[in-house]
Amino acid sequence: MSLPTLLNTRSPLAPPAAQRARLDALPLARTFREAAASAGHEPLRPVATTTLQINVGKRCNQVCRHCHVDAGPDRREVMPDEVVEACFALLAATDVPTVDITGGAPELHPRFRDMVARAAGLGRRVMDRCNLTILTLPAYEDLAEFLAEHRVEIVASLPSYAGAMTDRQRGDGVFEKSIEALQRLNALGYGAPGSGLELDLVTNPVGAFLPAGQAVLERDWKRELERRHGIRFNRLFTITNMPISRYLDWLEQSGNLQEYMDRLVRAFNPAAVDGLMCRHTLSVGWDGRLHDCDFNQMLDLAVEPSAPQTVMDLARGLPAPDGGPASPALALAALERRRIATGPHCFGCTAGAGSSCGGATTGP
């Protein structure tokens, strides 16, 4: 099963503005801003940036039903050299400790390996958000070795340890190839205690419900993947599906949209606001524009207008108040004073145990 992207089918929900309008039109019990205020976060502001999440483009070898990027083989958005260079100028001039490379399938970017090597060379923790099947394509057969060589932390998507559930969300045959890729990564030392090669898995619910407890699921997954396929991994991240792009379309088509959004609002957890990903992660789009998170990026929600708008702005820097030379660190500090843009979709990150690209944000 290979599904078309919303863009390819000219879906009315393909434009981000149409998605925002659909979400804004839903009658909800309260706005996200009101909910965040009840948790003492009005306005919602960032803390120090600990992760630069670089979305290198929307090309992907898969077309998953829940994808908030609307990624697929037909997408042409690829981060140009100018933006890549600005990202590295920013990193070189600041001490942001983690570089999180995402997409699409980020490995399809022609400069993916260069970016990994440079980020590792700067001494940063490097994360690759990997769909696993890319590792089994003939043109990428040495990719796993490359990632191991550069000690890249792999964050791999696998919604279920049951094949049918995974294929239902990610396409026919994806589970089998994903298992093959995981076994290959294990053979290189990924997921082995003490190897320093971190292999984390990401699971999203296959449907319109919240994820189960992360700690409980991690125990199940470790037992079942070991028993069924001899696979080891380090951590399981549970991520709530965000009502954006293809998942939003699916919610709409299946008649689940209102109920799902009501569920997210009812499950608002005030304790999840402190650890919101948007507070410590800066998201860079393929075109260099800055966003509070990857979800805001896909909804085309820019950072506050008074803040630097692109990674090129950050790389050029801002002058010191005493007239000193322009500094990217000062520009980043200015950005960290912004108000974070929010909308109804933000309830996805505060429902239940909270959700982020690093899994649950509360609890054990």
Binding site: M165, P205, P211, A212, G213, V216, D220, D262
Partner: protein, 110 residues
Amino acid sequence: MDTYYHPPDLARFGEVGKDAPELWEKFSAWYDAVFAEGALTEREKALIALAVSHAVQCPYCIDAYTTASLEKGAAPDQMTEAVHVAAAIRGGAALVHGVQMRNRLDKLSM
């Protein structure tokens, strides 16, 4: 079409406490304690509730505990087996009354 059961009413369950708030609070506290992790896991309790929902044929409970089972990490095959357990007990409960029928039959027959 007007019916006795309306799916949106599930979210209004709390309104039952309107004229007896203390009883509702006691029920809510007890209910929450029942479903908290204990000797049984939250997932096991959700699956028991799903099965019982079918036995008592409560549409609200079936909706609520289908979602709850999924959100506690139960798989569709586990949920389906739980429903079969409820059905087997209901079916067995009907059938075991056949002994009463046999007793009466034996008494009435020559």
